[in-house]
Assembly symmetry: C2
Homo-oligomer: 206 residues x 2
């Protein structure tokens, strides 16, 4: 239930600012209002929807300022993850990260945005896992989920694919060299750039 509604939001089926009426959602999933309500509470706690007393839940329309704070947080968290990952990744993890990264070059050359986007998600997830810190993993995953409605189109920008790949390259190299500082910085600036690329698509806050 939570998942179903979250998907509607993350996939963009429900647009930021849109009201989530309990009865229509209940009808849509053919259940009663109760599970819907509970799911909305949970989504509210996760920050995906906003709730105030006696009002409909609304898909969080992150205002510019809060959106920026999330992108900044994302950059910081990525930096931390990469730094920790450089120290802690196992040999297998390093190998997988590199292999995966190398193979993604084909999508860049082919200009396959969708495929590269999928790889990109995996790549970052590997990074988060590599930090070997469950709580940080949770935080970064949640933050990413909340940001996802706002960066769907990030790879549409011309040349973004190649640049993203080059930035990944820097991160991978630093991690393979076990250079924690460099890895942290590379990941940090990588996300900073993504945030700039995505800002354009941000839904105007109210």
């Amino acid at each position: 239930m939570v998942r179903s509604i979250a998907d509607l939001i993350v996939t963009g089926d429900l647009v930021p600012g849109e009201k989530l009426d309990e009865v229509s959602l209940a009808a849509r999933f053919e259940v009663s209002r109760t599970p819907v309500r509970e799911a909305l509470r949970e989504l509210g706690a996760m920050g995906l929807v906003g709730r105030e007393p006696n009002r409909s839940a609304v898909v969080t329309n992150v205002t510019g300022s809060y959106l920026n704070s999330m992108f900044e947080a994302m950059a910081e968290l990525e930096g931390v993850c990469a730094r920790l990952a450089a120290d802690r990744m196992t040999a297998e993890e390093r190998a997988m990260l590199e292999r995966d990264h190398r193979s993604s070059e084909q999508w860049v050359l082919a200009g396959a945005e969708e495929d590269y986007a999928a790889h990109n998600t995996d790549f970052h997830t590997r990074l988060y896992r590599g930090a070997h810190n469950d709580h940080i993993f949770e935080m970064v995953t949640q933050t990413r989920a909340r940001l996802s409605p706002f960066r769907r189109a990030q790879f549409r920008l011309p040349g973004r694919l190649a640049r993203s790949f080059a930035e990944h390259e820097r991160i991978v190299q630093a991690i393979l060299n076990r250079d924690a500082i460099a890895a942290g910085q590379a990941a940090h600036s990588h996300v900073e750039i993504v945030s700039g690329a995505s800002a354009v698509f941000a839904h105007p806050g109210e």
Copy 2:
């Protein structure tokens, strides 16, 4: 409702591992099960209680490994906050931070654990706010809430008060000097030390 139950957990009234039976909670607060259920869902999303299908919610008994990951995350987040705060705090914020810190010395000299603990909470909150990043503020606040059951007694350790004050001093100085790097490091190691001091009190995980 959420707040009421969360308080029971944070204050230690409900102990990690304890089952949260919906009907008794409903009776306790003199409401029906419905709002209790929704509150539990929300607390589940916040990570304060664990939930699995057809089971009672249980106060999260953070296992040793996850507890460590939270303390580590806390150290990283504090470091980030202090670093950002050193750059971004307004003159008023700096002044308040210093004033507050100075005045806390009286509690150290008097050995007033309760009072110092209250000040300590304020001090760190100031730091988080000083970073001027709402999302990071949320994350660090949530993490702290989840950790609170596990560090209630941190100032009981002999000499901890004075050491904490000295560490705060380093952080304050670095921020007043606008030395972001030093502030970040000082805050990071401060929390690392707290985590060591608290580990002793961790409820044994299962």
